[in-house]
């Protein structure tokens, strides 16, 4: 069926709210390739593979959705080749859901020469040196060749600290581009998420939410964050957008992945997150732990430490390997990176499952208290976290 016959897109895609605890929501996002339990962390497999991890290993930890990058796949192997391979799911042997970004963000961050006009993003290909245009129509065309469950609209990305009329201009343009993306979108087994813009200006964010929510079908994203803004501004934008958005749309905060950000944003009412952090940090020998946040396994203090990364963790790595072993092979063998990546991805998925449980049982306050105590282990909790907790009505006397 074409999308004109059914404006809600196909019944393959829907979002169901299961529980609400304060501002936080637990839900189920039905996508063509899997049901995604939210709040959810989506690991990033940039080039059509989760670095060093087999798809089956992700299935074993019950990962339901991955993110792949349009910009990278559009260059290598190229969207036409991915289409020829039968789509991104088939090419990479991943049977569950995938989200692709628009490709615009990487153009801004990876291209030296980049200009934006009403037609689209003009950029110099770092591979060929040619000037190229990415229009909203082209972005959708590429993403339809890739075939992910969720596509992202092309938006006009500006640096998060930009101020002045350009912020409004970029917002207006992003809304117009959303309409062009929608018009170009023809596959009914993919949905398209709009991206709320508006910088750090709360009024503009609300305005953008209103325009974009009207046009959203299954879900919506909060964009333009995680670009070096103050944390105090970051959480307020997330809070403002979540408050303004209608409840039936899952809210995807792009580029968020540090455990504290995941927890605070989930409690503020956000539902989806993605970040390269757990796998990138793994390649530098850093494991994520509830107690204390990070374990830099390259440090000499782990050379004779015969305990697992986290003795409560049930991942393959923690069941079989010691910190001392990983320390011994770190930066020498790719296996070290695989072992830490497996642990870190499981850490993020488990954290989100715990958030879901806390929302389901209604004891978000108790969960938050334990989480913060473990994460900061006697060091002080950052002010922005205290402010956000205060805003949400969670009180902790000992901060």
């Amino acid at each position: 069926m074409s999308k004109n016959e059914n404006d809600d897109e196909s019944p393959m895609m829907s979002f169901k709210l299961l529980n609400i605890a304060g501002r936080a929501r637990r839900g189920q996002l039905q996508l063509p390739h899997s049901i995604v339990e939210t709040p959810v962390f989506m690991p990033v497999g940039t080039q059509g593979t989760m670095k060093g991890v087999l798809p089956e290993q992700l299935l074993e930890m019950d990962c339901r959705i991955l993110l792949c990058n349009t910009y990278h796949l559009g260059h290598r192997p190229g969207h036409n080749l991915v289409k020829k391979a039968g789509g991104i799911h088939k090419m990479m042997n991943w049977p569950r859901s995938i989200l692709t970004d628009s490709g615009g963000f990487q153009m801004v961050s990876l291209s030296k020469l980049m200009t934006v006009d009403e037609e689209g993003v003009n950029f110099e290909s770092p591979h060929t040196g040619e000037m190229m245009l990415l229009s909203p129509e082209q972005s959708i065309h590429i993403q339809q060749c890739l075939g992910a469950d969720i596509m992202m609209q092309l938006d006009h990305v500006i640096h998060v600290l930009t101020t002045g009329p350009i912020v409004r201009e970029a917002m207006g343009r992003s809304i117009r581009w959303l309409d062009r993306c929608n018009a170009a979108h023809t596959r009914d087994d993919q949905t398209l998420f709009p991206i709320v813009q508006g910088g750090l200006d709360m009024d503009m964010r609300k305005e953008c939410v209103e325009e974009m929510a009207k046009r959203a079908k299954v879900g919506i994203a909060i964009g333009g964050l995680s670009g070096g803004e103050e944390k105090s501004a970051f959480w307020r934008v997330v809070a403002t957008c979540c408050e303004a958005l209608p409840p039936h749309l899952p809210r995807y905060v792009m580029g968020v992945g540090h455990p504290i950000d995941l927890v605070i944003c989930s409690l503020l009412g956000a539902d989806m997150f993605d970040c390269v952090y757990p796998t990138r940090t793994a390649r530098f020998g850093t494991a994520l732990v509830r107690r204390g946040g990070e374990l830099r396994l390259n440090q000499n203090k782990y050379a004779n430490d015969f305990t697992p990364i986290d003795d409560k963790c049930t991942c393959e790595t923690c069941q079989n390997y010691t910190r001392a072993f990983i320390h011994a092979i770190s930066q020498k063998e790719t296996v070290a990176c695989h072992l830490i990546s497996m642990h870190n991805i499981k850490h993020q998925l488990d954290l989100m499952r715990d958030v879901q449980k806390a929302i389901a049982s209604g004891d978000a306050q108790e969960f938050l208290k334990t989480f913060l105590e473990e994460q900061y282990l006697g060091t002080s909790v950052p002010q922005w976290v205290i402010d956000a907790c205060d805003y949400m009505g969670y009180k902790f006397s000992h901060f």
């Binding site: 080039q47 059509g48 593979t49 670095k51 060093g52 991890v53 087999l54 089956e56 290993q57 990278h72 290598r76 192997p77 080749l81 020829k84 391979a85 039968g86 090419m91 990479m92 042997n93 050379a303 004779n304 015969f306 393959e316 790595t317 079989n320 390997y321 010691t322 001392a324 072993f325 011994a328 092979i329 020498k332 063998e333 790719t334 296996v335 990176c337 695989h338 072992l339 497996m342």
Partner: protein, 376 residues
Amino acid sequence: MVKFNLEGASAAGRLGKISQWGSKSIEHATPSCMLYLRAGHVPHLTWQVETKWISHLQSPIYQLTLPSLVESKEVIAKFKRGIAAFCAIPNGPLHLATFDPMDELKTGYNEAKTIAIWASGGKVKLGVYEQHEIVKSFGVDSFETLIDYDVPRDVTNKRMSKAMDRTKILNEQTFEYEENLATPVFISLGGGFSAFQRRKCAVDNGMRKEDDEMVAGYSLELHDFWDGGCWDVEELKKLLSETFEPLPKQRLRYVCGPFSPKQVWHLVQLGVDLFDTSYAVKMAEKAKAIRLNDSYATNGDFELMDFTLDQYKDDFTTPYKECQCYTCKNYTRGYLHHLNNTKELLCSILLVIHNVHEYERSFAMLRERISKECST
């Protein structure tokens, strides 16, 4: 002890069965190969991936390689539970190889009582005492006597006889220590390119009583012939026959090194029983997949599929449709090309899985051929 039963021999090679390896009972038919490990792992595979996604034709004998482990010897000694637990290696016989067949051996570093191996931090001098301490704390099931391997083709007579003397002393010292140690040892046999010295080395070191349970078998030193080095079948034939001729026939003959399926095919004919899978890993790291021809057992022919070549870029067929490995059942040539092109870690993972599977299959084909020849 390593219990090896020579069951038959033909022009194609020797057929045998290993039923005991140190403290471990196994059933392992030869010709075969040990599973090459670096840092206690099949390179690029965690043990969870190895055990779930490679199905071995026989239960593996693990070949630990010392260069990737020697810098951890103090930690492993403190750990007290042995190398298998430290590296999470599944249950099975563990052999400690002195050299890493994936690395080059440099010339000019061996000394009177020590030989040189190269770890990530540089050269490590290894003497008989250090080796025994390592064998004890690692808790391996077999190891190899140390050998002065530094006898290239252009070696002087003086340097050659010095190497022969050193090897003999290292061998004798090993068996002196070995009286207090119940770990079977492979007697290393060298002699470089000299047929005379090959025979002398075998006679000097290999003539221990046939019922000596400390002797696991013979370890043939052939690093100058490793894949990429020189390869002259006639020369090898002469060197190997001089080595094996004076020695008891029923002992297991092992050679460490990356040898192509064709080279294996030759060496099996020349009487070698046991190899290792380092060639499979070496090719995977070069983005190449091994495929044996159907006629492999009779002519040793195989091919390599090179995923660095652009001809595979838009080829979304399975690498080899007859292959039963995880990689061939789930991925395409085009995807492997993409993974290599983008330097993704998954490329090596998938190709190690395929190549180890295919490399082990070559031995099954050779065993079948020898078995047929022996029964007719």
